[in-house]
Symmetry: D2
Subunit: 336 residues, 4 copies
C-alpha cells in the first residue's frame, strides 16, 4: 500500500476535521499544515503529527503529492490555482468560489493544468445516498420522474457568518443542486425558487432568506423539489426521495443510535445528529478515501470544478427567481 | 340515541361505499336510494335494506332529514340545491362543482337556505391527519413555517375519466388545497405550479397533466409544497409534514398490516393500501359520524360550500400558473 | 344476504362490545339480551335495538339461530351446554372453562350435539397475526424453528379479579398457548415455566404471579418462548416473531396512529393502544364475521372446545412447572 | 496526546481486525506482530506498518506497554499469563478460557500481578447497547423487571470449528451471559436452558446444539430470557429489550443503510450486516479506545478475567441444565 504525502491549508473547523481523518487514513501522510493564523496551524500540526509552515512551502515541497484546501471560502479558488500551478492534486472544500463568472474564467487554466481537482460535496459520499444512487442506476425503480430533497439544518449559523456566506442558495442549496445533478444525470432547463425569512428577522435585514422551496425542471421533464430551512430545532433533517416509473426510493434520517423507549406517551426514538461532523462522519472519511484513489491511480475526481460551477449557476438563477418572482430559464451551455 | 332517516342519490362506487357505512351506523337509517340507473338503485337498495325511488320522492318525504349526494360530479350542485330547497341537510361528495363561478353564483342561495351542507373532504377525517392537526393546534411544534403534502395515487384512472375529471388540479390537488387551508388556517396569497405529463402520454394528448409540484404562499409567509402524481405503482403515497418553529410533525404512510419479513435482501414491510376505500376506510366512517352529529345537533358542518369554492379557486389559479409558467397572485376576497 | 337472528347472554364489558359489533354487522340481528342483572340487560338491549329477557327464553325462541355467551367465566360452560341442548350455534368468549377435567367431561356431549361452538380467541382474528400465519403457511420463511410471543398487558387488573381469574396462565397465557398451537400446528411435548411476582406484591399474596417466561417444545423440536407481564405502563405490548429455516416473520406493535413528532430529544411516535377493545377492535369484528359464516354455511368454527381444552391443559402444566421448578412432560393424548 | 506502543499476538481474522483499528488509532502505535504462522505475522506486520517477531520478543521489549492477545482461543490464558508476568497490560479477545476451573486457578496470579487485563466483550462497546445501559442507569424505565436478548448469527460456522468452539453456550451465549450481567448488575441464582439441533444435523452429531432458549433468574427476581440461533439466513439479529417498572427500552437491528424501496409488494428496507466485523465495527474501535484509556490512565478495564469466569460458569450451568433437563442452581460465590 502506497502512502501519499499531503499538505493542508486551513486549520479551522473543516481543516481540523479533514486532518483527523487524514491521520487515521493509512494511505495518507499529512506532512504539513498551513494557516494565516500560525498558532492555529501549529496546534493542528501538533495534534496531527504534522509540521506547521506556510502554504508556499507546502507547494514547493516536491514530495507532497496533494493538498487539502480548507481555508476560508474566499481564498479557495486562489489556493486551488496556486496548487495546480505547482502540479499538486487538490482536495478542495466546497464551494470552489462564490462567484460564477470568476470561476468560469479560472476553469480553463485549472482544466489545462492536468492536476486532478476534487471538490468535496459530502452528499456524494454519504453511504445512504450512494446506496440510493446505486439502486437508481441499477434500474430498481425504472426511470426517474421526480426528485424531492429536504435539506434542513439544525440551527441558524452565527449571524456574522450570513454576510460572507454567499446567501442561502450558494451556501446551502448548492449541496442540493449538486445532489440533483449527480443523482439524475440530467441537464436542468428551468428553475423557480420561493424564498422567505421565517426564522430569524436579522437574516432578512442582511438581505438573505432562511427558508426556500425550489422547483427544478430537467431537459427530459423530470421535476425536482428542494426544501431548505436554516433551523429545524431537532438536528439534521436531510432526506431524499426519488419517484420513478416503477417505484420509489427514499433515504430517511439517521438516528444517533437504535434505542427506543416505550412509555405511556408512545415510543421515543433516539435524537438526530446535530453537527455536520456527526451527520457526515462517514462521508468525510470516504472523501479522503476517494482522494487517496485519485492520488494512487491518477483517476478522475468524481466531482470537479465544472460541477461546482454548475451548482453555482443554479444558485445564481435561484436568487434571480426569488428577486423576479418568476421561473428562470437556464442556459444549456452552463448546465453541462 | 336518535336515529336519523336519510336518502342517497347516486348508486355508483362512492354511493355504495357510503350506503355500506350508513347501514352500519346505528344513528342513521338509510331509507331511500335513487339513481338514473334504476337497476343500480334497486340493487344497492336491496343490499342496504332500503327502498329504491327517484330523487324527487326522497326530497318530498317529510321524514327524511338529510341526503347523501354521491351522484356524478356534474350533478352535485344541482342535487344539493334541490335538497336545500326541500329543507334537507346535505352530505355531498367532493367536489361540489368543477366551475368556480357557477358555484360562487349558487353560494348565496345555499347559505341563505339554512340547511347544513357538508362537503366530504376525506382527509379532514383521516385519523392520522386529525392527530397531526390536534398536535399542531396544541402548539407542540410552535407555529407553522412550512408544509409539505405528498399526494400520489396508486394508478392512473381509466383514460375516459380524464376529460370529465376537471383536470389534475380540480380532481386531485383539490384535496391538498383543502388540507393546506384546514391545517394552516391561513389565507393564501400566491401560487406557483409546475406540471408535467410523465406517466401516460394519452393524458397529455387530452390536455391534462399527471404530475405536479405546487408552491403556495400564505399571508403570513408560510410556504406550502404539494406534490402530485397519478401513479406510484406501489399504492397510496399520502404523507404530510408540518415544519414548525419548534419541531416538526409528520404523517407517514400506513402499511396494510404490521408484519415484516426478514430475509437476506433486508426487511420487507407490508404493502400499502391500493384503493381509496381501504386507505380512507376510517375517514369515510368518520364522515358519516360527523353528518350524524350535524343531523343530531344541527351543528355546523366542518367543511362547507365555501371551503369547496376556495379549493376550486386555487385549482383554477394552479392551472393558470401552469399555462403562463408564472406565479399567480390570489384574490384575498376569494381565499377566505 | 341472509340475516341471522341471535341472542346474547352477559351484558358486561365483553357482552356490550360484542353487542355493538352485532348491531353494525349487516348479517346479524341481535334480538335478545339476557343477564342476571336485569337492569344491565335492559340498558344494553335498549342501546342495541334488542329486547331484554332471560336466557331460557332466548334458547326457547325457535327463530334464534345462535347465541353469544359473554357471561361471567364461571358460567360459560353451563351456558354453552344449555345452548347446544337447545340446538343453537354458540359464540363463546374465552375461556370455555377454568377446569380442564370438567371441560373434558363435557366435551363429548358438546361434540355429539352437532351444534357448532366457536371459542373466541381474539388473536386468531387479528389482521397482523393472520397475515403472519398466511406468510408462514405459504412457506415464505421455510419451516418454523422457533417462535417468540410477547404478551404484556398495559396495567394490572383490579386486585379483586385476581382470585377468580384462574391465575396468570389460565387467564392470560392461555391466549399464547392457543396462538402457538394455531401458528405452529404442532403437538407440544414439554413445557417449562418460570414465574415471578415483580409488579404488585398483593398478587403474590393471593398466590398468583404477574410475570412469566415459558418455554414450550413441540414434537418436531420447535422451541416456543412466551413472555407475560401484567403491566407495561405503556399499553399493549403484543408481538410475535417466527424464526424459520429461511428467514423470519415479525409482528410489531401497532401505534394508535401514524404521526411522529421530531424534536431535539429525538422522534416521538404515537402511543400504543391501552384497552383490549382498541387493540383488538378489528379482531372482534372479524370474530362476528366468522360466526356469521358459521351460521350461514354451517361451517366448522376455526377454534372450538378442543382448542380451549388444550390451552387449559398447557396452563395447568405451566402451573405445575412453576410449582415444581421443573419441566413438565405433556400427555400427547391431551395435546391434539 | 501520548502514544502507547503495543504488540499483537495472533495474525488471524480477529488479529487483523484489531491491527487495522490500532493503525488508525492515534493513541496507539502497533510496533510488533507475532504468530506461530510467521508468514501470516509478516503479512499483517507489513500491512500495519509494524514488524514481525515472536511473542517472547514482544514481551521482552521494555518500550511495549501492552499486548493484544488475538491468538487461538486455546492459547489465550497462557498468553495472558505470560504478558502479566512481563508486566504488560493486556487486551484479550473473549473468551479468556474455555475451562472454568483452569481459569479460576489462574485468576489469583493475574489479579495479583497488578497488570490490567481487559477481556474484550464487544457488546459492552456497541453504541446501541451502551445507550440502552445509560438510559437504564439513568432510571428512564424504573428498575429492571425482565430482560430479553436475541443473539442469532447469520450463518453456521465451518463445521470443523464446532469441536473446538467449546459448544454453543461457551462460544456464543457467553456474550449474552456477560451482557446480562453488565446490564442488570445483578447476581444470578438459577438457570434453565432448552437446546435443540434444528439447523444442521452435523452439529448434533458432534454433540453440540445450534438453537437455545435460556431463562436466567437473578437474586432480586429479575427474569432474563436469551435466544440463540447459529443461522438466521438474513444477517445478524441481535436485539436487547429491557422491561422496567416504568417502561421499556429496546435496541432493534441496524440496517446497512437507510434507503428503502417502495414497490407493489410493500417497502423494502436495507439488508442487515452479515459479518461481525461490520456489525460491531464501532464496538471494536471503541474497545481499542478503552484500552488506550487503560494504558493512559492505568484505569481499571471495564471487563476483566472475573467477568469472563462468571460467564463461563453460566455456560457450564447451561450445559448441565440441557443435559439434565432441569433448572440449575448457581453458586453465589461464583456469580460475583
Amino acid at each position: 500500500m502506497a502512502v501519499h504525502k499531503i499538505g493542508l491549508v486551513g486549520a479551522g473547523r473543516m481543516g481540523s476535521l479533514h486532518a483527523g481523518n487524514a491521520v487515521t487514513n493509512p494511505r495518507l501522510e499529512l506532512a504539513w499544515v498551513a494557516d494565516h493564523d500560525t498558532a492555529a496551524a501549529s496546534r493542528l500540526a501538533d495534534h496531527s503529527g504534522a509540521r506547521a509552515t506556510d502554504y508556499e512551502t507546502i507547494l514547493a515541497d516536491p514530495t507532497v503529492e496533494g493538498v487539502i484546501v480548507a481555508s476560508s471560502t474566499s481564498s479557495h479558488l486562489e489556493n486551488v490555482l496556486a496548487a495546480v500551478r505547482a502540479g499538486k492534486a487538490v482536495f478542495c472544500e466546497k464551494p470552489l468560489s462564490l462567484d460564477a463568472d470568476t470561476l468560469a474564467a479560472a476553469l480553463p487554466e485549472i482544466e489545462a493544468s492536468g492536476s486532478p481537482v476534487f471538490i468535496a460535496f459530502n452528499r456524494r459520499f454519504d453511504p445512504h445516498l450512494t446506496a440510493l444512487k446505486r439502486k437508481l442506476d441499477a434500474g430498481e425503480v425504472g426511470h426517474a420522474e421526480t426528485l424531492h430533497i429536504i435539506n434542513h439544518d439544525p440551527a441558524t449559523p452565527r449571524i456574522d457568518f450570513i454576510p460572507r456566506s454567499g446567501g442561502l442558495f450558494k451556501d446551502f442549496t448548492i449541496h442540493d443542486f449538486d445532489t440533483a445533478a449527480w443523482l439524475l444525470e440530467e441537464s436542468f432547463v428551468e428553475i423557480f425558487a420561493a424564498g422567505a425569512c421565517l426564522i430569524d428577522p436579522q437574516i432578512g435585514k442582511l438581505g438573505d432568506i432562511d427558508t426556500a422551496k425550489v422547483v427544478l425542471r430537467s431537459s427530459r421533464g423530470v421535476l425536482c423539489m428542494i426544501s431548505n430551512s436554516r433551523r429545524t430545532g431537532y438536528g439534521y433533517d436531510q432526506r431524499v426521495e426519488l419517484f420513478g416509473s416503477d417505484g420509489a426510493l427514499r433515504v430517511d434520517n439517521e438516528h444517533r443510535q437504535n434505542v427506543s423507549r416505550l412509555m405511556e406517551s408512545g415510543e421515543a426514538l433516539a435524537p438526530f445528529p446535530f453537527s455536520f461532523a456527526e451527520r457526515y462522519a462517514e462521508a468525510y472519511i470516504a472523501e479522503l478515501d476517494h482522494f487517496s484513489d485519485v492520488l494512487e491511480a491518477g483517476s478522475r475526481p468524481s466531482t470537479g470544478p465544472r460541477d461546482s460551477l454548475r451548482a453555482l449557476r443554479l444558485a445564481d438563477a435561484a436568487e434571480q427567481s426569488v428577486r423576479n418572482n418568476a421561473p428562470v430559464r437556464l442556459n444549456p451551455e452552463e448546465m453541462r
